[in-house]
Symmetry: C2
Subunit: 387 residues, 2 copies
């Protein structure tokens, strides 16, 4: 395997933010997928914050959610944008860059630097489209394992993530228990309920109903922007809560012209339109299909019992759910923790009061910081359960 590392970014010592960050990329000569197919080469984009210590035992892997990317913190040198979890990562923050070495990679199948359906096929040089293999959560984690190994890290201090990121955390627990001392699954589930599958399916149908989708072969023509925008709008409703929408919008009307009888009247409609339209500028419709399907297929227990899947694990676990998260309801996190307990693990469950819905794991900085900082200190001090 040939590994190519681009120069790592420097943290700015006098500020809490990691400052300007630069995307790096590892090139894997080949990667076998769970489906039996394999691709070569495979690019995995990632960023790091803080410094890996000499013992290489201070590394934390952050796994992003469905539409996230490797740019978790700081200001992107390329785009000028702030990372999606910047409030949690930096000097003195929950993931303290003075103490820990933070890694965040874009998932396999994504469209933000890692190889996915919009990437060019190495021979034809045309985007894979639907020729891209079905991606699973396990495939995403296998790609992350390769990055971690190639940074010379034998064991992660902790792996953390919310939503789809939480599924990756569970997959690390199940498939690579010897490589992690701590695990923080946030606002997630060990397997999707039919309601969660149903929301994803209508989002996919919105995309595939757009004639520009063209069976996934749209890269040389107009993009399926309207379908992808509708998918994103549906998603956005499920990420908020009845309460947070009421607080944010109420029944206020928008200002401005209404070119048609069914234009957006209410502020909440204008907000959804804005979010939908912005999304199509930054996300690939086929990636949306592949990643939502990976989530729907995922079952941490592989059809068996979850506590049996966790047997023999040594990592300490902190699971966090949020009271108003109706997309990933608290009972799903409770099931994870019950299975951990049944498997004899050191597992803690916290249910955070929040009106922010599923988005809470991105927004409730202060409450999560208290919980996570303390948990990381425990893991850092004591290691996994075998230490």
């Amino acid at each position: 395997m040939r590994i190519e590392l681009m120069p790592q970014n420097e943290t700015s010592p006098d500020k809490s933010t990691p400052g300007e960050t630069e995307m790096q990329c590892v090139i894997l000569e080949s990667l076998a997928f769970e489906s039996g197919e394999s691709l070569s080469p495979v690019f995995i984009a990632y960023e790091t914050y803080g410094r890996l210590n000499a013992k290489k035992d201070n590394a934390i892997l952050i796994c992003h959610a469905l539409t996230g990317d490797a740019h978790a913190a700081g200001i992107s040198k390329k785009t000028g944008k702030i990372g999606w979890w910047d409030s949690m990562i930096g000097l003195g923050r929950a993931f303290d860059t003075d103490r820990y070495f933070i890694i965040c990679s874009n998932v396999l199948g994504g469209c933000k630097g890692s190889t996915g359906p919009s990437s060019p096929h190495p021979v034809t040089e045309r985007p894979y489209g639907l020729d891209f293999p079905i991606v699973t959560i396990r495939d995403m984690v296998n790609a992350q394992v390769r990055i971690v190994e190639n940074l010379g890290i034998e064991r992660l201090l902790c792996v953390v993530g919310g939503s789809m990121g939480g599924m990756q955390v569970l997959e690390w627990m199940v498939s690579h228990p010897e490589m992690i001392n701590g695990a923080i699954p946030l606002a997630t589930t060990a397997k999707h309920s039919p309601q969660q599958i149903a929301f994803h399916e209508v989002e996919r149908q919105a995309i595939m109903s757009d004639p520009h989708w063209n069976s996934g072969d749209y890269y040389c023509g107009p993009l399926p922007s309207r379908g992808l925008a509708v998918a994103r709008m549906i998603g956005h409703i499920t990420y908020m809560s009845d309460c947070s929408m009421a607080e944010k919008f109420g029944r206020k009307f928008t200002n401005g012209c209404r070119p048609c009888k069914f234009s957006a009247d209410f502020e909440v409609e204008g907000y959804l339109h804005y979010q939908g339209n912005r999304f199509v500028e930054r996300f690939d419709a086929n990636s949306y299909l592949y990643l939502t399907k990976a989530m729907d297929y995922y079952d941490a227990a592989r059809g068996g019992k979850l506590h049996e899947a966790f047997a023999g694990m040594r990592a300490r676990v902190l699971a966090i759910a949020f009271t108003s998260d109706w997309l990933y309801p608290a009972y799903q996190s409770q099931e994870i923790v019950s299975a951990c307990k049944l498997a004899g693990l050191d597992a803690t469950y916290c249910e955070v009061n929040s009106t922010c819905g599923h988005d809470a794991f991105l927004l409730e900085t202060e409450k999560q910081t208290h919980l996570i900082r303390h948990f990381l200190e425990t893991v850092d001090r004591n290691g996994g359960m075998d230490n």
Copy 2:
């Protein structure tokens, strides 16, 4: 006004069902809309079950929900289909046809016999499309008032309905309090929350994103079937509950071929596809836009306080909510009842335990029958609060 009544159906005396039913139609020479526009003529389709007594004081009006129609009970002579609330209407049922005269009309703006955007313009003979005036819940009720008046009924024993039907019930309470002795709003709200508006808006966007929608002018060409199917699929998720989906589908896979990577794998997906595809055979996309918008705009209190809108009303009120209905959460029914109490009304609130979600008002026959039968007996015996 010229009124044309088609022959009323006969009830079959030896069975609990109303038996074979026939749609009737009243033709209003003109109808003024709340928007200021007016149409002429306007057709309103309706069915009746049971017999109007000599005093004409045993009439109950049933208001249907978004995608319902006038065929509430019995077997349609024309289609052979059973009415959407058949389990609640008939001899010995909640709405006992041996005792009450039941009326159910298709809403103005609908597509099941009443004038709506798919109806032909009387001059051009082309469907109205988006030239149809904006319809409000008040407009729907005004059309119902005309039917009731033309049946020679001065006061209804009761008006009842769930969801959008419940909004019509509230509008009867606010606008025509002198014409009703009882009111049963089921699984409804006095005004939509931003979350409810948001779901409707993405459903509308799914329709309007279909290029066949063609700004509502699709009646001579291909229909916006894919968009309407996606809208219906979204709706269906919101009508069920996490629990009812888990009970009905779990994570079971469908059998059969999968022509593409993103075909329906899970039973819940197959179910949604089936429901979406069936819906486009029976419903008009423009009616879907108009009716959802009527619901979103509706505010029983007209921007003021709900108890003030109810002041002076004499009808007795029974409001029913369902524990697993997350689309029209119980707090919205509680707000209605609180406002009734503040206005000095005789109002009862019942929260029915059910796993059926919003669909509970269509499915929980037994529990609703107990509550409604008793309520109707009270109203029948005592009349409104002034009796």
